[in-house]
Structures are given as C-alpha cells and as structure tokens.
C-alpha cells in the first residue's frame, strides 16, 4: 500500500503550469551564450555596499524589528515611509492604504485569492506578464484580452471587452510593460481610469518598472489619476525588486483601507508576514535617502544599454522586423514577419550562442508565435551589440 499521490491532487493543478520561460532560461545559462532572455535586473547594479552597511546597522539598532515575528500588513514605520513616498509620487496615501508583500508575485496571488472564483474573467493586455497568468490560473481565472500598440491598450477596446465579458478585474502594466516595453499614453490613461469608474471594474495596476524611466516625460500612474479625482478604483503595485534587489522579495500594494484589510486576511494564511530583515533594510534605505541616487544610477546604465540595443537592431536586423523603443524598464519587443516562428528561431539562435524569450507564452489566448522579448538589462553595450549581430544573422537565414 502507500499513498497514491497522483489521485490526491486538487483540480486547480490542472490549470497551473510551471513557467515555460524558466525552462528556457536554464538552456540560456551556459556561460558562452549571450542571453537576452532573462527578466532579471543586473546584479552588478545592486547597491551591495549600502545594503551591507544598512543591514549591519539595523541588526544592531533594531534587532527585534529585523528578526522577530511582525504584523501581517508590514512594519508600521515602513508602511508610513512608503505612504509618504507614494504621496510624493502623486498617489496620496496613509499607512492604512499600504500592505507590504513578499514580492509583487505575492500581490498577484493574493489579488486572485481575494477576487477570483473559478471561471471569473480577468481583462489582460495581449501580450501580458506571464507570472500574473500563473498566479490567476491557480484560482481558475479565464482571460479577456485587449491588444497593445505603441501607446498601450486602446480604451475603446477595453470598454468593448468589459461590455461583452464583464471581467471581475483589469490587470494592466501601463508603464514600460512586460513583455513589450510599451507605455500607455496620458490620454489613454485618463480614459481607462474613467472606464474603471464607469463600469465599476477595478484595475490592478502593476508598476514594477515605473521608477526606471530613462527617456521621455514622466506620466502619472493610473492610481494617481484616479486618486486626483477622488476615486479608489485602483490597486497599485510597486516593488523594491528592480531598484534595490529582488532577492529581498519586497513589494507593496496601495489601495483603499477596506481592500487592504482583505489583503491582510489573505496574507495571514499565505505567509503570515513578509521578511522582517528586508523590511528594516528597505526602511533605512528610504530614511537615509539612498533610494533616489541608486535609481538614478541604474537608470543611466539601462539607458546606455537600451541605446546600444536599439542602434544595433537598426543596423543589423532586416527592415521587415519591427521592434519597440521603450522609454524605461528592461525589455524591448520584436515582431518578426508573419509566419515566422520564434521557438524555431531560438533553436537556431542557441547554435549561434545567443538567446531570447519567445513571445507566445505571454499571450493569454494564444498567438504571438512571431514575437520575442529581448532584455538589455544585464550586459554591457559591446556584448549587446554582438548578441544582436548574432541574432540578426539567425533571423536573416530563417527569412531566406
């Protein structure tokens, strides 16, 4: 006898999958491969020395806050500091509007837990962040997709999709979107916020990259526009993963005090509270004004890398290949001519020691076989140029 495990699994496991991309990344980890496949920030840009100094201080000065069990909604002083920071970013907030999360991935999971019954629809961009689909899948979500162009999702398309499918929630990444790098225009932002209010469909605004703007004019977040009109229709998510370090697993939600309470209830059963040491480190980073200079430094580095990638693409890629020119973030998006297949291309690319992420997994409802995502985050410009040169050769041969 014994346990027949495969007879015991819950039904939801059929909806869940491991990340295709993580499997692809394993292939791309060989040291001689120029990988533009990663979704990670560059570890060489982490403020290691500052974190070491701050960490030493918080363990000396507030060992209890850094090491003991804490409150589910987060360290009170950090929630207050983040409320001030959000207010300075145009999203007026008090501590009661802030919930500390164990990374944005947890915020997506808990949003699914709070709002999604099996079969509920979530409106998502096409393509969208694969990790969000993984989180929502566990709750049996189905998806309504709205295509993206260079100015983000079209408000008319969003309104039509809501009329037709009545989604429970919209999940949008308006700024330097993952995977496309696209940013929603100001006019569309205003109209999308109106649509949320008009139809009573809340927006989960995921903004992991907003601080990483290296070109163009800053735009208000959807949450800022909504709050300026007295609305509370947006759950805004941001994170320390792209500015401090992702290994800290620290993000936060800004939402109404009522929704914050639901997050707290959901989080109690999920992991009780987020890592306490990471919270005191982040708090001290904010208190000492270290975040601003750090963000400035990484912005400049990523700008140079994006420039190198865009210039190399313009030089080497065939003119039939389209690509985005993001004003921030870590990614750009490539559209190959119709009929080409990025997965086949990846196999050829691997032979030439260059890697990327095929775009199809980012499409909640299929398609996108001729698209791919390139990250410019983790390599110096000269390596980026060499990677694009190799990839251009692979594309040209595939088109021949």
């Amino acid at each position: 006898m014994g346990v027949a495990w495969d007879t015991l699994y819950a039904k939801r496991l059929r909806w869940m999958t491991t990340s295709v991309i993580r499997e692809i990344l394993k292939v791309a980890q060989s040291p001689d491969v120029i990988s533009m496949a990663g979704g990670w920030p560059d570890a060489a840009l982490f403020p290691v020395e500052e974190i070491r100094a701050v960490c030493d201080d918080v363990l000396r000065e507030m060992p209890r806050e850094s090491l003991q069990y804490g409150l589910t909604d987060g360290l009170p002083a950090l929630r207050e500091a983040l409320a001030d920071y959000m207010t300075s970013q145009g999203i007026p907030a008090r501590a009661e509007h802030i919930v500390i999360m164990s990374g944005s991935q947890q915020a997506l999971d808990l949003a699914g837990r709070i709002f999604l019954d099996e079969g509920d629809a979530v409106l998502v961009e096409r393509p969208t962040f694969l990790g969000a689909l993984q989180s929502f899948n566990a709750y049996g979500a189905r998806y309504v997709t709205v295509p993206l162009d260079d100015e983000g999702a079209r408000p008319e398309a969003i309104a039509a999709a809501i009329e037709r499918h009545r989604p429970k929630l919209m999940y949008l990444i308006p700024t330097f979107q993952n995977p496309t790098g696209a940013t929603m225009s100001l006019d569309r932002r205003r109209r999308v916020v109106e649509i949320a209010a008009h139809y009573g469909v809340p927006i989960l605004e995921d903004d992991p990259y907003g601080q990483l703007r290296f070109a163009g004019e800053p735009l208000p977040t959807l949450a800022a526009i909504d709050r300026a009109q007295g609305g509370e229709n947006i759950i805004y998510l941001s994170t320390f993963s792209k500015t401090l370090a992702p290994g800290l697993r620290l993000a936060w939600a800004v939402c109404s005090a009522e929704v914050a309470q639901q997050f707290v209830m959901a989080k109690q059963g999920a992991d009780l509270h987020s890592n306490a040491l990471a919270q005191t480190i982040a708090l001290e980073f904010l208190r000492r004004g270290l975040l601003g200079p750090q963000v400035q430094r990484i912005r400049e580095t990523y700008r140079a890398r994006r420039d190198a990638m865009c210039e190399a693409i313009a030089e080497f890629f065939p003119p039939e290949v389209r690509y985005t020119q993001p004003e921030g973030g870590l990614f750009l998006w490539v559209t190959l001519p119709e009929g080409m297949d990025a997965v086949s291309l990846l196999h050829e690319a691997a032979k030439e020691k260059v890697a990327f992420v095929p775009g199809a997994p980012f499409f909640a409802d299929g398609g996108g076989e001729n698209t791919l995502r390139l990250s410019f985050a983790c390599m110096p410009p000269e390596v980026i140029v060499e990677g694009i040169r190799r990839l251009a050769g692979v594309i040209r041969r595939a088109m021949a």
Copy 2:
C-alpha cells in the same frame, strides 16, 4: 459610479477569518501586562551577533546569491545542507526532496493549494494549530477531528475517522504540539505511520518545535519512521523560526521528489521564491556549525522557564485545574473545570494585568471553552511565577 468592492470578493473570503488570537494579542501588548498569550519565541534569545557577522560575510562573499532572483525550490546549497541535516535527524533526504518555504505558514498554504478542493476533508487534532486552519480554510476545507490525550492522538480514533470520513490529508503536530504541548508516544507514532500507508492518506507532519526538546528521550519523527520502512507517505515540515529567528520567514518541506515538484509549481505563482538573503544566512549558519550551540542555549533557557511555570501552577492553581507538562516547545495547556469559560476569564485576567490565549479557537469543530494556552517562552522565571500567581487568583475567584 466607481467600484463597489464588496460585490467583487471571491466566495472563499466567506470561509476565511483573521486570527482571533492576533486580536487578543493586541490587548496583551500593554507593557504592564504579564502576557503568556504570545506564540512567539523570545527575541532576547535570537543569535543577533552571529546573524550580523554571517550577514556581513554573505553580502561580501555571495552578494548575487543573497540579493538576486533565485530558484523557486530554494538556494541549491541550502537545499543540500538541509538534506544532510535531515539525514542526520533520521529522515534520509537528497536536495531534490527539499523545498525551501517562506515560513511554515506558506508550506501549509501550498499544501492546501496542491491537495484541497472545496469540501475536501482534512483530519486534524483536537485542538490544533489555528494558523493551519486559516491556510486550509482558503481552499474550502472541512475538518475531521481526533481528540488528543497526553500521548497525542489515538491511532484507533484516527483509523475510525478515516474509515468514516475519507480525508484527503492528515495534519498532525506530533511533537510538543501547538497548542497543547502534548507529544505522541513512540508506539502511537509507529501505528499512525502504518495507518497512513494502509489507507493511502498522507500525513502533513508539522514539526516547528522538535529541536526544542529539553526533557525526556528524543523520539523519531513520523517521517523518519516512514522512510525507515521505505515509505514516502509523509510531508515533513520544519523551520528556522524557533531556532534562528522567525523574521527570516524560512522553513522547509521534506517530501518525495514528485510532491516537491508540485510545491514548486504552486510556489512559483505564490511568491516566486523565498527571501534570498535569509537563505544565505541560514546556509552559513549550518556550514559554520552555529545552529547546534544556538539550539542548546535556547533549550536550556526554555527548560528553566517551563520548570518555573509548572512549579508555580502546582503551588498556586486550584487542584481541579489540569495542565500538561511538555518536554519541549513553548506552550502548556490548561483545562479548567467543566462549565468555566476562558474568554470570560481573560477579561478578568486583563484587570489583574495577566494574559493568555483562550483555547476555543484551536478547536476546528467548536468546544474547548474551558481550555487555555500558556506560553512560558518570553519571560524570566520570576515573572512567570508572578503571572501564574495572578492568574491563579483570577481562576480561584471565578470558581468561587
């Protein structure tokens, strides 16, 4: 218009509650209250200086492993170190059997996610750990309870409950149980492992306190007994929360490689991976052999505190009040005469500046109104004696 949030929540929110105990703890936080209500280890026993030194070293020597995104199943070197540690504790394991979790609470959540469809039954002890109920409630669990005595749950009662209710899973805390402090005898352990194999019902063995034995003979874990017979019917959970520091939010599961893969899939959507810095700190603690001396130190302290509490109870409590004398862990369990109500008693106790946790919330199916949990973890012996003296007065008055 705007979002009518309360029309949007998922059905599962009706099954979920915030911890009653956390609300009670808020009351008990006044500095002049002698609180035996907490479930926390004593922050004064955390190895702060060792953590500071280790933290400084890992940030210098392995900044990438400490700060970058990591693998969902955990830092490979930590999984290997824990596999060795588990093997030394009688549970033969390789890295593929270890999944690093963001605290045991997450392991309980993910176990619910993997195994529980709405309406599935979980067999639990009566009383049991409230946090486990919170995790399972999110998946619509119902409960089958088996009463505890001083030797843990009775195997015959477990077998009968399985025959009758066919639970998906057993959730057991065989060693220094929370809330009772009870430990399952060796004979019962063997028979419960047999029952799991016979009926094909797996056991989730939660063992947060097993390392904190300060009296009596060590007993093999259920997982050790099962593995010695070639079984893979147990998912074993342990944690750094009671030995290093709970703020690190670091625990681990030991299970078959196949079940480990399901945990990894579930964890990807839940929080991607556990805090990386906490993982490198824990790894270095194990590598340097610092865990053993730390555990020895806290064991001795907790033994002295338990002794103080048991002796004071024997001296001050009315003889009608029963209590457990645990051989480890943080808690003992008090049973008042039938008809008494611990919640009313708590209100009287608050007036006398002493606090405890009423036992009823630990009963998945109601009852236990005349029970309460006392923690001896966080106070020196003389404060414990004073707390018990005050509580004895409150009990005597309530009985009068």
